[in-house]
């Protein structure tokens, strides 16, 4: 279990995250939602130990993540960045092999190569193995990055907007992969998301942030309400239900006079 307790983060004098309390269990998918600049990425970076919180702590299976060594942390937690730099002149196999870094002493062993092969095979990426990473499509790149994180054999996985650069089919495929991963390998997944509907459909729990505060934390069906979304995103929506999932249809930004009247109240 990942446990964040009373987490505060400052950039200079601005407080970016305020009093975040959050638990993520193994095998669970938690989506972090909120408009741009609300602190989603900061939250993820705290989990990765890249940002030290001003106060509060993060424990992973009862170990303080700031007290772990880099390698130890990398065995616990995998990270799928939004995108790699535009130039990444390696084969797909090499890219996935990097996921073995926390286990490699000097050069990757035969076992490392075997694991990478298995991961590529299980994700239907074998045909790309020796292609240049730069030459494959955006959707394939995202899958390769995911494959790299899986080769890392982590207990938890952190993804920064895994679906934002993908077409609809790839979005569904990647989300399905995550769902399987959580269920079969019992991996706890935390991801920052922009798409309300994908998050509602594929997450066990949804956390919404507004100006560094946690506004809600619960199953999609409970927390995805017109009122919450209006408050967090500043848009008016209707919510339909289909197949048991809430679907958000954005209507318009909240009119200025309404905001003003709320402020006056």
């Amino acid at each position: 279990m990942i446990q964040m307790k009373n987490l505060d983060v400052h950039y200079g004098k601005t407080r970016v995250l305020k009093g975040i309390d959050l638990r993520v269990n193994k095998g669970e998918i938690v989506s972090v939602l909120g408009p741009n600049g609300v602190g989603k990425t900061t939250l993820l970076k705290c989990l990765l130990g890249m940002i030290k919180p001003g106060s509060g702590f993060i424990k992973m299976d009862d170990l303080d993540i700031l007290k772990m060594s880099l390698t130890q942390r990398a065995r616990f937690i995998g990270y799928v960045p939004q995108a790699l730099p535009s130039r990444f002149p390696m084969t797909v196999f090499d890219a996935v092999l990097m996921g073995r870094k926390p286990y490699v002493r000097f050069v990757p062993s035969g076992e490392d190569l075997e694991i990478v092969s298995q991961v590529l095979l299980s994700m239907n990426l074998s045909h790309l193995a020796l292609k240049e990473f730069d030459r494959i499509s955006g959707g394939q790149k995202q899958k390769v990055l995911l494959a790299r994180a899986i080769a890392q054999e982590p207990c938890y996985l952190i993804l920064d907007e895994p679906s934002s650069n993908l077409d609809v089919k790839h979005q569904l495929e990647v989300m399905d992969m995550l769902k399987t991963l959580a269920a079969k390998k019992n991996i706890g997944i935390i991801m920052a998301m922009h798409s309300l509907n994908l998050a509602a459909r594929f997450s066990d729990r949804i956390v919404m942030l507004k100006s560094g505060h946690m506004v809600c934390n619960g199953p999609p069906a409970e927390v995805m309400t017109c009122r919450t979304i209006e408050m967090v995103y500043g848009i008016l929506v209707t919510i339909n239900r289909a197949n048991g999932y809430p679907y958000t249809i954005p209507l318009s930004p909240v009119p200025v006079n309404k905001i003003n009247s709320e402020l006056l109240n």
Partner: protein, 337 residues
């Protein structure tokens, strides 16, 4: 799939062996040709038995020169590959961080203030001290301001301008003879290479190599960005600082006796990258070998093309290196950086 990948790496291994053999062949060839007309047979015989004059020339003049050329190529090639990897910049070379111009400034200072024209070891020491000084400044600034590639490159470029203006200023004050000596040092020359120098340079160049190879897999991860490498357990700031310190030492070892031979450190890693791709486990040894081949070939041409004159190595490397590099750049079929 695993086997296909292995086959791919096997190809790289074979290519490495090929370049090693090529280096050996050029080395032997270069022992056999030179200003004095000793036959190929005599040159090779001189290595094993005493055949008088030929042995003296081959062992005392040509052999140290060949070794030194090889070492310099290895040093600059490896250092270049390391700088390009940790600074994540195709323009990086052993001189990006101001190392070349600070070495030059060191030489100028000793020539003008410490009578360096008389005592050549003084020049070497001066160049060496200032080389290390400039890399310490870069490392110091980045310790204070964050070890990002950008901070380091900008600090290096600033230092480069500072040291070259300082050099120009001192030259402006110097006498005719001193300025002549300075210009000659900047050309680069292998003529002073003796066995003592080889041992000193060789230590500085070869000792860091195992440590750098130890980081090769980490360099691969760093091409994907600091954050993502960090998330996989690479201690990016530490590796970047250590690698730069080691590569600076190698650069100092390569240039202190011979002057600034600039181009090799930029071009050898690029050629290696075109042939071997970006896996640093192969890229680094390949850059070393290709650097050695280039310096050795350039020096051999430089001392034979225009007999009895010797064209300074720094000039020849650019003359043959630049067209060759442009040729490869135009011919390349895929983006390799």
């Amino acid at each position: 799939m695993k086997n296909q990948y292995r086959a791919l790496k096997c190809r790289s291994r074979v290519l490495l062996i090929f370049f090693f053999l090529l280096l050996t062949v050029i080395g032997v060839l270069s022992l056999c040709i030179g200003a004095s007309s000793i036959s190929v047979m005599d040159s090779i015989l001189a290595l094993i038995k005493d055949n008088g004059m030929a042995r003296a020339i081959v062992l005392n003049l040509r052999l140290p020169r060949v070794f030194m050329a090889g070492l310099i190529g290895i040093g600059l090639g490896t250092a270049g590959a390391v700088f390009q990897a940790v600074l994540r910049n195709p323009l990086a070379s052993p001189f990006t961080l101001g190392i070349g111009s600070s070495a030059g400034f060191g030489a100028v200072v000793t020539i003008i203030f410490f009578n360096g024209l008389v005592n050549e070891y003084a020049i070497v020491t001066g160049a060496f001290v200032f080389t290390l000084l400039s890399s310490f400044v870069v490392l110091g600034v980045s310790r204070y301001k964050g070890t990002t590639a950008e901070t380091m490159i900008l600090t290096g470029i600033a230092l480069m301008f500072l040291f070259s203006s300082l050099s120009s200023f001192l030259q402006y004050l110097g006498t005719k003879e001193e300025v002549h000596g300075i210009v000659f040092w900047f050309f680069g020359s292998l003529s002073k290479a003796g066995y003592k120098e080889i041992i000193l340079s060789g230590t500085m160049i070869l000792v860091p190599i195992p440590f750098i190879l130890r980081f090769a897999f980490d360099f691969n991860l760093m091409t994907a960005g600091d954050e993502s490498a960090g998330a996989l357990g690479v201690n990016v700031p530490v590796i970047r600082m250590l690698s730069i310190a080691l590569a600076s030492l190698m650069t100092a070892g390569a240039i202190c006796f011979t002057g600034v031979i600039g181009f090799i450190g930029l071009v050898a890693p690029h050629i290696a990258r075109m042939i071997f791709g970006s896996d640093h486990l192969f890229l680094i040894p390949a850059s070393a070998l290709i650097g050695a081949v280039l310096v050795l070939a350039a020096d051999t041409l430089g001392r034979t093309l225009w007999l009895p004159h010797i064209i300074p190595i720094g000039i020849v490397t650019s003359f043959i290196g630049v067209p060759f590099f442009l040729f490869l750049l135009i011919r390349k079929t895929k983006e390799y950086w």
